[in-house]
Symmetry: C2
Subunit: 140 residues, 2 copies
């Protein structure tokens, strides 16, 4: 079982978003146990990162990958023994420079998304990574 944490600033407000996240969590439940800790601001979230083993920050200046690259990267981390992976999504202020220099940065797009939607996109990419690995028709 792989443990994936998605650390986030601010609550999920929309009902449809909760439903969408739940749908992907359910599909991934045979392989992944998710946790979604919510923090009141970036500062509190950044302090919490110190306790995490394997941190990736979602950041506009981060590395841009294709879904295949993301799948390869995720599974190579898992094979190296990373059973706990933590993705952090900042709020409107973004992360501090200090934290941005400490951890690898990943960008979902050159477009700006709501941090709520970033969470959904990330979950769908993790689900897609498993489907790519299986060679299913989901990722044609």
């Amino acid at each position: 079982m792989i443990h994936i944490k998605v650390l986030l600033v601010g609550k999920t407000k929309e009902a449809w978003l909760e439903e969408a996240l739940y749908e992907y969590m359910k599909r991934l439940s045979p392989y992944i146990q998710f946790e979604f800790p919510i923090f009141k601001d970036e500062e509190t979230l950044e302090r919490a990162l110190e306790k995490e083993k394997h941190v990736i920050l979602l950041d506009p200046e981060g590395k841009r990958m294709t879904s295949e690259m993301f799948a390869d990267w995720l599974f190579s981390e898992i094979e190296k023994g990373a059973s706990h992976v933590s993705f952090a999504i900042g709020g409107p202020l973004g992360f501090s420079q200090k934290v941005r220099e400490k951890y690898p940065l990943l960008s979902l797009s050159s477009l700006t998304f709501t941090h709520q939607m970033a969470r959904l996109i990330l979950l769908e990419q993790i689900f897609r990574a498993f489907e790519i690995k299986k060679g299913s028709h989901y990722h044609k």
Copy 2:
């Protein structure tokens, strides 16, 4: 009133996605009238494009923009008099080379999304474009 069509292959299956699309349509209803024609395959959709005035294809090889660039582009088109803009999202097969050479191509990300989710991301970017234009706090 601006008319935006999003032409798509295949139905929206998920209830949460319908809800999310409805939410953005509602927020944009003072400015934009949306239409979402659904086609059974790429071929039928491509034929329908011939009747559209102003077509943009969502394509993995398309131009990548920031949200600010997208907003600038959208409003410059509107100011040039494009009161009807049609975005087309392909299905699993993608568009034919012939059609890809005919229209401008836009990419939402280097990642692959479901075409359903692409529709949601597109709507959120259109909403964001209006908020950028207004100078609101939505796009911080």
